[in-house]
Assembly symmetry: C2
Homo-oligomer: 340 residues x 2
Amino acid sequence: MVGIKDVAAVAGVSDRTVSRVVHNDKRVDAATRARVSDAIVQLGYVPNRGALLMRHNRSGVIGVMTDVVSTTPYSTDIIRGIQAAIEKTDFSILTVNTAGHPEQARRCWRELKGHRVDAVIFVTMFQRQLAPGETDPSVKTILVNCHPEPGTELPHILPDEALGMDRAVDAAVAAGHRKIGYVRLNPTIMAADIRETALRRALARHDLALPAKWCLSGAEGPIFRDKFVAFDTVTDLLRQPESPSVLFCGNDEIALQAFSAAAGLGLRVPSDISLIGFDDFTVVTEIMRPTLSTVALPYFDMGRKAVELVQELIEGPVATLPYLTACHYISRESLRDMNP
Amino acid sequence: MVGIKDVAAVAGVSDRTVSRVVHNDKRVDAATRARVSDAIVQLGYVPNRGALLMRHNRSGVIGVMTDVVSTTPYSTDIIRGIQAAIEKTDFSILTVNTAGHPEQARRCWRELKGHRVDAVIFVTMFQRQLAPGETDPSVKTILVNCHPEPGTELPHILPDEALGMDRAVDAAVAAGHRKIGYVRLNPTIMAADIRETALRRALARHDLALPAKWCLSGAEGPIFRDKFVAFDTVTDLLRQPESPSVLFCGNDEIALQAFSAAAGLGLRVPSDISLIGFDDFTVVTEIMRPTLSTVALPYFDMGRKAVELVQELIEGPVATLPYLTACHYISRESLRDMNP
DNA sequence: ATGAAAGCGCTAACAC
DNA sequence: GTGTTAGCGCTTTCAT
């Protein structure tokens, strides 16, 4: 690899002068600067970050640590948001994966520390609380989609799912719906509780309730080996003499199964039954017909926010708050307007 | 950050001895080794990769360059495959994104060179040929999902889509299907041509043909702003007095639209019409009911293969071939067995 | 405006 | 079995 001395030799100056040109130091003659710049371009010189790291103890690298290489591409938009934002900075991204194993997590921290990352963005697939030892107190860290481990304070970025649910319920009620059902997420994941509670609160605000018989299971089983049962439970429900006019679904996959269940019975969405999803997984929501009204998880924004916070954190301390990111209701075709 | 000298001081030895312990050099007394190891753990010492890079001109970092931060998570499994494989090595991954812009691509190469990456894995979202200047001849590179730019030879990893199509057609014919239709991909993407040609060849092998009236458009418009029209075209087709018994779809999204079209007409899959997708986008294929029979793109395997090749490439030259990765037909519920 | 020397963290080569 | 010296690519400090 070509180094600063090669450039210096070609330009006929000292290495120090090349360094000055590279860093736009004013105190260098215009003619010299031109000669050096030419040499840099000609040789394709790029400063060695390893050497820079040794000089000023800043690597210019941010570690991105994820917990699971999941088989489903749920929260990859967080990564996309991070990448999109990082491109506008001078930082680079080193990605590591804990695979959910504490031991692997320790290896990851070692790897990141070896590269002397300036800070770490820790991203989890599903919203959850971190276990002791998952983070490293010696490294500046921003959490995304998760809560700090007990006894620890760390800035963390979360989706405001309750807000999103409020908006979805408002939309359904405004469209004239009063008979409301829900197809739950797998209870083993944290979002299951968050969303169901949010739905009940939002309904209560409109003096509406969720009848037990219209609150169905959508997915079951151990995490990552869970089975979707929404097709079966919704099929049963839709065979009853009386059923809800709209079905809120724990996520878009459950909504797709609900749609399949309706189709299997020869029913139409939304004329026979309305559907509202959650997540805004666009490969489902924008492609199925009718398109699916849903609550979008602001993953991309959360990734961007993480980059913003991480830069502040590198400069100095940052408040160790939960930073809530708004969830928006996306109105599409699967919610019928019941108003006359 | 704690350095090798801090460890040496605590252990009461020279820095060189610490280095020997870190690298498992045999020529060090057991007692000394124990003392040094203790000091390392106690201080949480991790060797500085920047310093290592300067010593042996090997960064232990592999650059992963992608072209597009797409809004759809298509080929992210390639990245997952890369990550899963890299974890078993001593390499780290630095990710950069060209966003499809040649200028941004040049910035990315600079960034990777600055970190003195040992090699680069260049991944494209859609199969395509690279444009001049997208790669950098001074950096060892493996291509994934794309072909080298004209006049350049580079090892590249591709999915064997023709093989996958053969297998899908074999399955459909074995299930007794003779009336076969096709819903095309957006013709602006390379896979559109590859898949349609592969389908026609595979059918010809069984003395079957694809009637023009059963060959529909599935998506149209400029790339990344394309519109899916499969819902409309399939709806039209299914209203005809005679229609195919099975519809091959350019990808799983198109298949989801075909399913929606059938549902909209009150038809059942697969009893009224069979469907075969492409890609194996599991959020669709495993969730919709019936589950979708499809051809899986071996993205995960391709990522793994890339890591294997990149390691060989770092050691020495690698044949600049296209490395084809097999596509498998995934049999699920959407193909009806027509045999008596 | 430019250069020389010293040192960042680490190890190869050579002592002892 | 262990320590010393020198130098990797670069910048800081101090000359010139």
